[in-house]
Symmetry: C2
Subunit: 475 residues, 2 copies
């Protein structure tokens, strides 16, 4: 390392692999950026600096010229090269700049509780890593993949075809590749549809109460007003819709979130009749429909009315949220709009992972994975329901035997936020249900207990611990 005789440190590391010119440019640039070379200050002549550093003068001339082109230095004929005057906020120095941004990592990730009943995530340790990697390799089998240019914004054709076939077979949709749109998970799908509907003049969307609080925020961000409609044991109370002026309804027919109800057959028909009469659209969130333990999953609403229902699914619950793969099956009159919205949002989702998904589906890997994990989650659910019966006999498990969580009603007098907080202090993560209600203060006390993040053997001790906490909170 060599330092110059001047009052700014310019360290050159010969043999570091970086060309000397690059090192000189970088050293000077950082000196300006950090304020060690203040605005207006004169630099040594190229000859003097070259001699000082023991390098060729041409190299310093090049470096000065580079930094002049970038706006760091000013060269005037017959005068010294100077640091350009710029008004920077507080002439930020590297050290101080590292502190002001307080970026909280996601709260969820930060804390590792002993018993984690977080809902809404699958057990990612069950992710079929080998078969997914095999699917990825298949994409690359012939050297470079088929799709490297800008992809079809609607999704690459093999993936749309594979999904259409999978959904029609497994979820009873009426899906054709031309109606399928691939996107970045459910959240983007809902957002895009909300934007399209807004542009068509829709102003209000019916949502389930209780429902998906975070989805609601996104739909509001797209400019729609939300109209909460209550849910009971038969799902959305559809007869409330008659008097509501809304152009869309977002529902979870296969497994209501968070109550776990299945939408009644009669209500299915009534909901579709409502949509038909109003020329409204139903957004069907089919988020964990593949996980039904007591019978075959109920087929999608979309199959009954493909021109009025927008079907939305994703890989987040079936495989892993980090894949960020979602899909829509869209009525004919919305296809062009959703495609355009996706183009404008991000020009289409990554193509290679779409091809991997297609290969994965076509090899039957998703079926295999679901068969395997269905058994695992079913045992966890049984363990949860059993433990709740033993240790918390005053609670009621809502909904059907399905999905990745259970809604557990607590005795009326229970202080739900108090229980959630006390549980957290004692190493148990549970979510209160009130945040899923349109009017949280009016919600009956209940917990959402997810079993994606807790192993079968941890469920009993976890519930036992939770029972102690609830008992303590009630005393």
């Amino acid at each position: 390392m060599k330092r110059t005789a001047f009052d700014f440190p310019l360290a050159l590391a010969r043999g570091s692999g970086d060309p000397l010119r690059v090192q000189v440019v970088h050293g000077l640039r950082v000196a300006v950026q950090t304020g060690r070379l203040p605005a207006g200050s004169a630099l040594p002549s190229t000859r003097a600096l070259a001699a000082d550093l023991g390098i060729s003068r041409g190299l310093v001339v090049e470096a000065y010229e580079q930094l002049r082109a970038e706006g760091y230095l000013i060269a005037q004929r017959g005068s010294a090269t100077r640091v350009a005057r710029r008004r920077l906020p507080d002439a930020p120095a590297r050290r101080t700049r590292e502190t002001p941004v307080v970026m909280q990592p996601p709260a969820l990730a930060a804390w590792r509780p002993r018993f984690d009943f977080r809902p809404g995530v699958p057990d990612v340790s069950l992710f079929p890593a080998r078969s997914w990697m095999r699917a990825l390799r298949r994409v690359w089998a012939d050297g470079a993949p088929a799709v490297l240019d800008y992809p079809d914004p609607q999704g690459v054709e093999p993936a749309r075809t594979a999904l259409a076939s999978y959904l029609s077979r497994s979820r009873a949709t009426v899906a054709e590749a031309s109606r399928v749109v691939l996107c970045t998970g459910f959240a983007q799908a809902a957002r895009l549809v909300a934007e399209v509907l807004r542009a068509r003049g829709v102003r209000r969307m019916i949502v389930e109460d209780p429902g998906h609080a975070d989805q609601c925020a996104d739909i509001r961000a797209a400019g729609l007003e939300l109209v909460p409609v209550p849910v009971d044991d038969g799902g959305l109370v559809v007869d409330r819709l008659a008097t509501i002026d809304a152009g869309a309804a977002l529902v979870t027919p296969a497994h209501q979130h968070p109550t776990g109800a299945v939408l009644d057959p009669e209500r299915r028909a009534a909901l579709l009749a409502w949509a038909e009469t109003r020329r409204a659209f139903v957004l069907e969130d089919d988020y964990d429909a593949e996980y039904r333990y007591d019978r075959a999953p109920v087929g999608a609403l979309q199959g009954l009315a493909p021109e009025r229902v927008v079907y939305i699914g994703s890989a987040s619950k079936m495989l892993a949220p980090s894949l960020r793969q979602g899909w829509l099956v869209v009525p004919a009159e919305l296809v062009a709009g959703v495609r355009q919205a996706k183009l404008s949002a991000d020009r289409g989702s990554p193509a290679l992972e779409q091809l991997a998904l297609a290969a994965f589906l076509e090899a039957g890997e998703l079926d295999r994975h679901l068969r395997r994990t269905r058994g695992i989650y079913r045992r966890r659910r049984d363990a949860l329901v059993g433990a709740l019966g033993r240790y918390l006999p005053g609670t009621t498990v809502h909904g059907v035997a399905a999905g990745l969580h259970a809604l557990v009603a607590l005795p009326r007098s229970t202080d739900e936020p108090g229980v959630v907080a006390a549980a957290a202090r004692n190493g148990v993560r549970v979510y209160g249900a009130r945040e899923y209600h349109a009017v949280p203060a009016a919600a009956p006390p209940a917990l959402l207990l997810g079993y994606g993040g807790v192993s079968e053997k941890d469920i009993e001790p976890g519930v036992k611990q939770l029972a102690k906490i609830i008992g303590g909170a009630r005393r």
Copy 2:
């Protein structure tokens, strides 16, 4: 295959692998969906259908119950099970439903010209497939990857760190991982920033004229008004900004799109002074800055004023558009907003490919790839400039020796759209420059000739062919 005695075909295929119950449900469902079982029609009794199909009655009971739950059938005590009455638009049959949606594949992909001078795309056949796959494998080296749950919406930490280091080293940014946001390419980055600025009260954004026409549409979609400001050989004519009331400016300082100009050092300083005075933000689109052939690339504007410049880059020109990876380096006061906008848009980009990018960068693979491709594109550019000199001496090549395209000014009298159309008819794809101008009709005739999609040896015959067409058009 067995067909029933009733007047609807229900085909069972024993030994097909699908359980008989699934086949019965599927067959009935499709019969309803396609109208072969019309609404209101009575189904055979479970006993009769079971006998007819030679299967157990319990199986038919289950199937009817399944379809009742899904809303396809209605069961009333003491009466036959019937197909539910639903008002479907035109009782769509599968056959007819396949035709109405006319989805055009992207026009670009549909046509394969003999000589393809499409700008804005790299040569995807140069994609470093092996080293990218190696990076992907590294992500999966320990079985399941580290990030399978919902990712940090701002981008996973290893990728933000690797990018911050790469950009600071190679593009002279002042980037820290906490300021980096990963997203789905440039388009989403610009869209998110536009949304955040709009929410902060910004109403107008300055754009370069000529500039990126498609980006402009997206920014308008986010609710901002665009103010076009002319570009000359020194880039954006910054002294025009003094009288414009705008809260942001979108610029391409390293290589103006489409003219190829580099933003003057004095204008860099003036632009940043403007931004500082107005508390405005500069969006720096660094789209193909890595491809400079006559000298080292000019460092990013962001390094001069990290609190006023939003730096945006992507993998689309350096690697492949289908990766859909883009990144921002964001001023401190915008980080929380951009992070929130990304969360609301799609909950974050796919995590595994972010990790692959990190591994790719850290192994030095991007540097290697750029070194290799820089030579290839440089030779193509030289071939293009040489051929233009020989066959089209009346034209002028604008801009510096950089990027993946050249803007070629045609003689004043040339009918630009006529040339583009005639070239297309003769197997040569070229783009006219007028669509990049705020007032297309006033634009001087010029062509954008990209060399990402044409090999070195095809450039001379391609230009020769183009010269014939231009000669013909002028006669």
